[in-house]
Subunit: 226 residues, 2 copies
DNA sequence: GATTGAATCTTGACGACGTCAAGATTGCCG
DNA sequence: CGGCAATCTTGACGTCGTCAAGATTCAATC
């Protein structure tokens, strides 16, 4: 995937294989090899640098060292590329939650709190993906169900963690209420932390203190469940 | 102002002056009167119809019945118009919170829950503005402090409501923790409700049940404060 | 009340963007 | 080895945001 540009601006930088033909084409090969993956990597880098509103398919192609129309053979349109990135983000979100839970042992409340911490940790580590996942245009007419089903796994984890705490015999609306509260809390906290405008009142606190504040809020919720 | 396209929508209702000159220009006047307000109304309508990613300054101008370059005299650029809309949204958010609180009486916990309900109610009534306010590009170089300070009032209300419940003598980090939890909960719930992808598990419930679930989550939080 | 300067709006242009169509290049399968 | 499909490039079109220059109107001054 040719070290998606950056260093030399003009991108390409892909001198991994010396130009074979002549000096006409600094680019290595006509066929890229795995342009789809390269475009995803370049797209994520673009997203991190320029944000969702400044995202450009042409710039992504440029960064990947291909022409502006090359992406069309791998993604139907720009939204399809972004949707694929969002799916990738949800996979990482699930990984982050599972990683924290695995380290949290077996106690249900500890596992629920860990899931929440993982959720927030992901948002802080990849704010550009987080924003894309929850604010990007809804992928409407894309092939496959992945874009629509991607959030489901993360919710399922959170739901399972809540159910494990509640035990059996809880009315359906109460379950929904507590799942909504759990998701709302961690999602809101995550958003609060990555948006500067929203994080105003957390400014005075240092990094460690914020961590403790967020973890405390989540643990207090887990403890408050009946 | 020629009933911007859609006749129904744009409000403004500015057909006050019949076209005076000739049939050449269906538009009434060269000078609009209050184009700034008309652009804000048209921009909000565009936002509601096309979403943030589909927003277009030219389409907004078209809807307002002016040329594509007319907005430049009232907003430095497209982001400035969106920033003004975001400020407008924060004002409405504050109004929604205050309205609920005013109807909630004097009991601190009831007032806190009311503030949260108002927050969610605003998001549901104006999802396009909500998304803009919290996901739009951060207005960087805009004149005036309004865009940066707009979220402050809403946070101040929530903060005040939390403080009123806690009473005096609570450590600073605990205060921050509970404010973060309150904001995170209501913000996350609001987001949960307006994003279809996220609201999957709430689908089976009807409108009234959702209302109860959200209100229940908020009230349980208010009741859980020490 | 006419004149003049400033504010407002229009027209036209430019570069960047997303997307489509057609041609060039390459890998692969027979 | 030949041909076909996949891949990538080039070129074009319409739309977008923004700038510059001209047209029109308002308002303040004389």
């Amino acid at each position: 995937m040719a070290e998606n540009g950056r260093d030399g601006a003009a991108g390409d930088g892909g001198a991994e294989r010396a130009g074979r033909r002549s000096a006409r084409r600094p680019r290595a090969a006509y066929h890229h090899g795995d342009l789809r993956a390269a475009l995803l990597a370049a797209g994520e880098a673009e997203l991190a640098e320029s944000g969702l509103s400044g995202f450009s398919l042409r710039a992504t192609a440029r960064r990947a060292g291909v022409s502006h129309a090359a992406p069309a053979h791998h993604f139907a349109n720009a939204d399809a590329l972004l949707a694929a990135l969002a799916v990738l983000g949800f996979e990482r979100l699930v990984s982050a939650m599972e990683a924290e839970m695995a380290a949290a042992g077996a106690e249900p409340r500890a596992r629920l709190a860990a899931a929440g911490r993982g959720y927030v940790a992901f948002a802080r580590s990849s704010p550009h993906l987080f924003r894309l996942m929850f604010f990007g245009k809804r992928p409407q007419n894309l092939p496959g169900d992945a874009p629509r089903e991607a959030p489901g796994r993360a919710f399922a984890i959170l739901r399972g963690a809540v159910l494990a705490v509640q035990g059996a015999g809880v009315p359906e609306t109460e379950i929904a209420r507590d799942i909504a509260a759990a998701w709302g809390l961690v999602h809101g906290l995550a958003h609060l932390l990555i948006e500067e405008a929203a994080a105003g009142f957390l400014r005075p606190f240092g990094e460690a203190e914020r961590e403790a504040i967020v973890a405390g809020a989540i643990e207090r919720f887990a403890a408050s469940l009946p």
